[in-house]
């Protein structure tokens, strides 16, 4: 088994644990590369089926290409799609810096969906290498009342045994891609032929490395127009993946505050 086989096997193991232990369960589908890989892994785990709904928490500000992609693959992959919208930015904590405040809309939208569907588990495609705060996450990350992430009081997690509290008011965030790196995602996309929104590929010398809301995401300079070229570019790149995501950079603790409140 090479490294991708091992990552794949571990992610499948995690998805099957979640499906067995957490009901009702849903998977977040942000339409980005990571969540497409995650959805692909679910189809591997469940032999072509996706036995739980996928959720798109819609900020209403995604790129048109993303909405088109969503509608096309919902049909093609026979997905049960749950849509949720987000409150206006005026309803969000005004002490957050502007981009973080905008991003926090998604947190509120997600919280509403979790409550509405009484979810015990939410599968999310975050990775440790994306951002320092995410590096602290557990594979099964229990959330208490108000969906809060108690970063100082995380359960032990070892030998592939995961905390699965099933008390009312709690849910578990499941992170099957936690151990993957950005380049692993791309190499797996290449190997498996996983479809992506074409915003990831260079047009006029620019491409998106990470996709968020239109107004708080910016493209990077690049000539990589195929998956293989993106991989080659990443092998020499020294800038971080989320450099184009405004809310990560506003203040030292803005992103951590977002995550404690339930942001992905």
């Amino acid at each position: 088994m090479d490294d991708l086989d091992q990552l794949e096997a571990q992610s499948i193991f995690i998805l099957r644990e979640a499906y067995r232990k957490l009901k009702p369960l849903a998977m977040l589908w942000s339409l980005g590369k990571d969540s497409n890989v995650m959805l692909w892994l679910a189809r591997k785990a469940f032999l072509g089926n996706v036995p739980f709904p996928v959720m798109h928490v819609d900020t209403g500000k995604k790129f048109p290409e993303m909405y088109k992609f969503r509608d096309e693959y919902t049909k093609k992959w026979n997905l049960e799609l749950l849509l949720g919208d987000c409150p206006p930015v005026e309803d969000i904590d005004p002490t957050l810096p502007p981009a973080a405040r905008s991003a926090a809309r998604k947190t509120a939208g997600l919280a509403a969906m979790i409550d509405k569907y009484k979810l015990a588990g939410v599968i999310a495609g975050i990775r440790r290498d994306e951002q320092a705060t995410r590096a602290k996450e557990r594979v099964f990350s229990p959330r208490g009342a108000g969906h809060k992430w108690d970063v100082r009081n995380q359960p032990p997690e070892f030998w592939d045994q995961f905390a699965t509290p099933h008390e009312p008011g709690m849910h578990v965030r499941v992170h099957p891609l936690l151990a993957w790196r950005e380049i692993d995602i791309w190499r797996y996309i290449e190997r498996e032929g996983i479809p992506l929104v074409d915003l990831y590929f260079a047009k006029d010398g620019k491409r998106y490395r990470s996709l968020g809301d239109q107004d708080i995401t910016s493209p990077v300079e690049s000539n990589a127009s195929t998956v293989a070229e993106v991989i080659a570019e990443l092998e020499t790149s020294r800038t971080s993946e989320r450099a184009g995501r405004a809310m990560d950079h506003e203040s030292e603790d803005a992103f951590e505050r977002l995550r404690v409140a339930g942001y992905l």
């Binding site: 088994m1 090479d2 490294d3 991708l4 086989d5 091992q6 794949e8 096997a9 571990q10 499948i12 193991f13 099957r16 067995r20 692909w40 189809r43 591997k44 785990a45 469940f46 032999l47 072509g48 089926n49 440790r128 320092a132 705060t133 590096a135 602290k136 557990r138 208490g144 970063v151 100082r152 009081n153 995380q154 359960p155 032990p156 070892f158 030998w159 592939d160 045994q161 905390a163 509290p165 099933h166 008390e167 009312p168 008011g169 151990a179 790196r181 190499r187 290449e190 190997r191 127009s225 195929t226 293989a228 070229e229 991989i231 092998e235 800038t239 971080s240 030292e252 603790d253 951590e256």
Partner: protein, 628 residues
């Protein structure tokens, strides 16, 4: 069209955990290592320089890891984190584990799947408490390759004699734990000596630098050639096929192989290996998550092992195990848990504590309890016969984990083997219930709990308990009262009033209360229980759901009420050792509820008590409180 070739398959990264006492330089070591091996993304270096500048410091490599705001404010690493780096073509992942004692569980989370460990020891200070604790954990979680980095040798002026003396102490310590360190590297992480390049200040040292030692860590040995263990994770029914899924922990399967299933021992053949978006598969090896169909179409349960008839696991209902206990409270004989082993879950009870490790010198001693976050060897009584393999480092054999009633992990249990049956008192086989606390609570519409009322004789405990009982019962709450006099009339009629007998009285009341509470009842205990020690004992026996309620009535009022004429008798010298007269009463320092009865009617007070109990046992109330 692109002409770039698809990248070649790569080996998986080798996880390396860095452990050691707080301030012995782990974070500095990692920051330095990443810098020296040119592994930092531009963003990270800029962030460190910025953060260091903001705090008026020269570049502080440890900030790289202490990336959470709260950590920087406290100056400690609160959780493990993972950072990839490369030596030549080989990928590594560094797992940083914190040195602070209360964060033990984070360290285990980080360290448990590491291939090798770097134990960082301040050469000047030598082994400290965390050095011993972490070394012990390396042994218990099964890490075989240990590189000892003797850090801060600049403080010892790179003196060969002093450094080697420090090494001898560490060697002796590790020897006790049956850990044979791969190599000792004398180094200074801050100055860069013997990190990525050879130090010219220690010409006497001929061994490898840290990076050379890491590059020499052997690749994980394959588990594919061992006898098969495939724990069943789940059974699906898609279309008309019944599909058994799980990850092969060791060995391999081929279509046509005969396997034995679980403790019941049914036999079947692997009929097909199912997959989606791969070439058709006829074989699979350890590490793969597989889906198979069986012929005949038997239905295994989650947790059943599939194994070859020629190499069965051990079977037993009493198991000896090592234990690293992760709770902040002690562990005692009689406590029940679920033992998770791979995908199986078994009800177990601690039947004996065989020995406990003394951390000062890592020796084993008999003890009544395992201290908070302690290490021990214990015997578990399982409610049914189970299959297991003894713990072997480098495999997933025998990796037991104890979880409590709320599915929280409370300890790691590397299984040693079958426990010899012992005659007499220790040979208990308690059985655990398969009905969960939460199932019961849902059926009853409320949670169980113990409300332990303490107070002077005549304070009004029994009256209030009965008043609250009536009110709660009227609301449909399944409630009962254990009061002192009732207990002494029956269950405790053999007991007198000596200190030992009073303590036994408390122990029995608490044990009964626990059984009732576990069955989902709300239990009100009305017992003088005059000492803090008495009530602490009760709290420990009952465990979760224990509430201390102080019936706070001035002694003068109690004596005035004197419903049973006891104060009068005690004053007249007819009763000796009467609480409040010639035996002390220790009021609770921080009760969960204090009820002052002097200026309120007993009706009002009973209503308050009933309201408190109702709130604490509400389904969606106290349930949301985090248990840790």
């Amino acid at each position: 069209m692109s002409t770039i070739p698809t990248p070649a398959p790569q080996d998986a990264a080798t996880p390396i955990v860095i452990v050691g006492h707080v301030d012995h330089g782990k974070s500095t070591l990692i920051g330095r290592l990443l810098y020296d091996t040119d592994s930092l993304p531009e963003g990270r270096v800029a962030q460190i320089i910025e953060s260091s500048k903001k705090r008026g410091l020269t570049v502080e490599w440890s900030f790289l890891l202490d990336s959470l705001q709260i950590e920087r404010d406290q100056g400690v690493t609160v959780d493990s984190t993972r950072i990839p780096f490369k030596l030549g073509t080989r990928q590594f992942v560094i797992v940083d584990a914190p040195g602070h004692r209360q964060f033990l569980r984070n360290m285990i989370t980080g360290a448990a799947d590491a291939e090798a460990a770097v134990l960082v020891v301040d050469a000047n200070e030598g082994a400290q408490e965390q050095t011993r604790r972490h070394a012990m954990l390396l042994r218990l979680i099964g890490i075989r390759h240990v590189i000892v980095l003797m850090n801060k040798v600049d403080i010892l002026n790179y003196d060969q004699k002093k450094i080697e003396a420090a090494e001898r102490d560490i060697t002796a310590l590790l020897h006790q734990l049956e850990i044979e360190p791969t190599v000792f590297v004398p180094a200074s992480a801050r100055e860069g000596d013997n990190m990525a390049s050879r130090s010219d200040r220690m010409p006497w040292y001929k061994g490898p630098t840290l990076t050379e030692a890491l590059a020499a860590v052997p690749a994980p040995s394959s588990r594919a050639d061992l006898p098969l263990r495939l724990p069943v994770q789940d059974v699906y029914r898609f279309d008309t096929k019944r599909i058994v899924v799980g990850r092969i922990e060791r060995g391999r399967i081929r279509v046509g192989d005969e396997v034995v299933i679980g403790v019941h021992g049914a036999r079947a053949r692997i009929a097909t290996i199912e997959s989606w978006h791969t070439a058709p598969q006829v074989a699979a090896i350890a590490g793969q998550s597989v889906a198979v169909t069986l012929e005949p179409d038997v239905i295994p349960d989650r947790g059943d092992f599939l194994y070859p008839a020629s190499a069965a696991p051990l079977r037993a209902a009493r198991i000896r195990t090592r234990l690293f206990w992760l709770r902040q409270e002690p562990l005692r004989v009689g406590e029940s848990f679920k033992l998770r082993l791979a995908t199986a879950e078994h009800q177990v009870t601690v039947a004996a504590i065989d020995s406990v490790v003394r951390l000062e010198d890592l020796t084993e001693h008999p003890a009544e309890e395992v201290p908070p976050e302690g290490f021990a060897e214990i015997t578990l009584a399982v409610s049914e016969t189970m299959l297991f393999d003894a713990f072997v480092p480098g495999t997933s054999d025998g990796r037991g984990v104890l979880v409590d009633r709320n599915q929280q992990i409370v300890g790691g249990a590397p299984l040693i083997g079958i426990a010899e049956s012992v005659a007499g008192r220790n040979a208990i086989h308690p059985t655990g219930s398969a009905v969960s606390v939460w199932d019961r609570a849902q059926a009853k519409g409320h949670r169980g709990g113990v409300f332990w009322m303490t107070g002077l004789p005549g304070a009004g405990k029994s009256t209030l308990a009965r008043g609250a009982e009536t009110r709660l019962f009227a609301r449909g709450v399944d409630v009962s009262v254990l009061d002192g006099d009732t207990l002494r009339a029956g269950l405790c009629s053999d007991l007198g009033f000596s200190e030992a007998d009073r303590r036994e009285n408390v122990r029995r009341a608490a044990a009964v209360a626990r059984i009732l509470a576990e069955s989902g009842q709300v239990v009100i205990v009305a017992l003088i229980s005059p000492t803090i020690t008495d009530r602490e004992l009760a709290r420990q026996i009952v465990g979760e759901g224990f509430h201390e309620i102080f019936i706070d009535t001035p002694q003068a009022t109690c004596e005035q009420r004197d419903p049973k004429g006891l104060y009068a008798a005690a004053r007249a010298g007819k009763i000796a050792g009467f609480t409040g007269i010639d035996a002390p009463y220790e009021a609770p320092v921080k009760p969960d509820l204090r009820l002052e009865t002097a200026n309120a009617s007993s009706d009002e007070t009973a209503a308050r008590l009933a309201a408190f109990i109702g709130e604490e046992t509400r389904l969606d109330g106290a349930a949301q409180r985090q248990t840790s």
